[in-house]
Symmetry: C2
Subunit: 340 residues, 2 copies
């Protein structure tokens, strides 16, 4: 599959920078510049922002990829659909649409509004023993993600928040990030704040076993086929498809960042179209984002639920767009009080 992603034309850079020169320097100003470049306009907008949650299960859970019960994945999907999670509250408060995509949950959902049925399989295979998916499954998932992003752009959306939901997804993401970026696996897969030490040891042994089966895989599609979950592959396809259509993506959490680590090995220009919303629970997330020169907008403590950081990023992006929309009078009021 060929992705046609162009880096934003830098010819607007100087004009945008000049228009932003009286905005206090910082993340909002940088986001305004990025939005202008991504949309190739001096007056960027945030239209029909959507938070998309890709859900899937992982066969390696049985081998110790997580000590949490697998049913938390489908229960999490149900809770989002019922509208009762923190993320739902945030989306309502900020007037954001929310979409849950069943990429590969090991559960049969009755069809219903807000749930996108895109199940490739009831969970991936156990990568400790065999590849996580077949090549044909990989291609279908990648293609689905791309089509999802294209459909969003066709509905006139231009900012898409992305996150993953799936027990054991972070172990898979750690393997992918290790393969793509060479970061230390123990850093990437290390203890989360609520991990028991025996669970960490079991997971580390599993990941080492998976890597000893395959060696460190350099090819991004091969790495996905061996270690990914279907939700991660769809995230990769969505990231690439969004960049093809000049849609800004707002990545939330370690799993989405690992998907970007894969996507940029397929098409490096994708990085220009991404904003990093929230720090994950593990320190390895910061190291991984650092390999793209990116720093998440929000601390984990502020956005502890996957997707919440992407939702909280939307008012910041709207403010950034407004800096350019209304720039006629933009000036650094209040900067004096920050010094002194």
């Amino acid at each position: 599959m060929q992705f046609r992603i162009e880096a934003p034309d830098p010819s607007l850079h100087d004009t945008l920078t000049a228009r932003l020169n009286e905005v206090p320097p910082g993340r909002v100003s940088a986001l305004a510049l990025q939005l202008g470049l991504v949309q190739q306009t001096l007056q960027p907008t945030v239209r029909h922002p959507l938070i998309a949650v890709f859900a899937g299960d992982h066969g390696a859970i049985a081998a110790g990829a997580s000590s949490l019960p697998q049913k938390l994945t489908w229960q999490g999907v149900e809770r989002l659909l019922a509208g009762g999670s923190l993320l739902n509250a945030a989306c309502r408060e900020m007037a954001l649409a929310l979409s849950v995509i069943d990429a590969g949950v090991s559960h049969d959902f009755p069809s219903r509004p807000g749930l996108v049925a895109a199940k490739i399989e009831h969970g991936s295979a156990n990568y400790a023993l065999e590849p996580a998916m077949w090549r044909s499954q990989l291609e279908r998932a990648l293609d689905y993600g791309r089509a999802y992003a294209h459909a969003f752009a066709a509905r006139d959306g231009n900012v898409l928040g992305l996150t993953a939901l799936g027990v054991a997804a972070e172990a898979s993401a750690a393997l992918l990030a290790h393969c793509m970026c060479g970061l230390d696996l123990a850093l990437l897969a290390g203890a989360a704040p609520d991990d028991a030490s025996e669970a960490v040891a079991r997971r580390e042994a599993l990941l080492a076993r998976a890597l000893s089966r395959t060696g460190r895989i350099d090819d991004p599609l091969e790495a996905l086929r061996e270690f990914a979950g279907f939700e991660i592959v769809m995230l990769v396809g969505t990231l690439l498809g969004a960049a093809e259509k000049r849609v800004l993506t707002v990545l939330d959490g370690f799993v989405a960042t690992a998907a970007l680590a894969v996507a940029r090995r397929i098409a490096p220009e994708v990085t220009h179209y991404c904003v990093h919303a929230a720090q994950g629970a593990r320190e390895g997330h910061r190291a991984l984002a650092g390999t793209f020169g990116a720093q998440p907008l929000f601390a984990h403590d502020l956005a502890p639920q996957a997707g919440l950081g992407a939702a909280l990023a939307m008012p910041v992006l709207r403010t950034a767009a407004a800096c350019l929309q209304e720039r006629a009078g933009i000036a650094p009021a209040g900067r004096g009080s920050g010094r002194g």
Copy 2:
């Protein structure tokens, strides 16, 4: 002046905590608990949120309290009134009211909508040589701030963002914070990212001179009289008046935090009513907030303009309130993906 502030009745604490037990732990959940306690209800709200910017000038600027020109204060006020700053854009995007209070700017403004005329004097006196204000001025400013908060509550507002605008206000704030908390003056008044080293040396010498004139002052009102600006005194009055009326205050920046350091020496219970929005440019801000056990929600990089952090905090507070408003179905969707 006596302030009648009660600590929130803790009897709701357990019920609120139980209702929040399925919200992922973090700042949003903590803010929901605080909102519930402040408003003494299981269903808190964010009503008529307002960002109030208190502006004033400082006589010590001539002695080196800042190397920036004093006119930046009134120009900053004009820019806010013209609607062209980053903070204006943020307030429009988040549907927040914005109010600028002339507490003591050394400039005569024509009257106009959005500007609250409350000038005590054209700037404070130079604290290197004499007290910054008379006792009667101190009392008027304190009283005005309290009345401002009471009027906000009377208009049914219950969340008030507070910040200061004034060249050299941070030097004054450093003196106050040093007197109230005993933190090292060099840490509090140290170099901001864009400070020239000779300006820092000149400011440090000035602050040492001011302190050698008075000694470290323990009494909060005396410290204000000696070292404050009128905008800082009004912030102190507003913080205390807001707490009297169970209004939650969102403090933005080092100067507002220093105002809280004074206010809590007058009435320690005020701390329960405060949220800290944004980290200031200097590391000393973190140390000062730390003395209240508080950590700002946003990094300085995300909210580099005074007041912007308070504006960005409002969607977070609205989400927090919604957690309790809608708690029937709240559940930890997506937590699985943050782990294992």
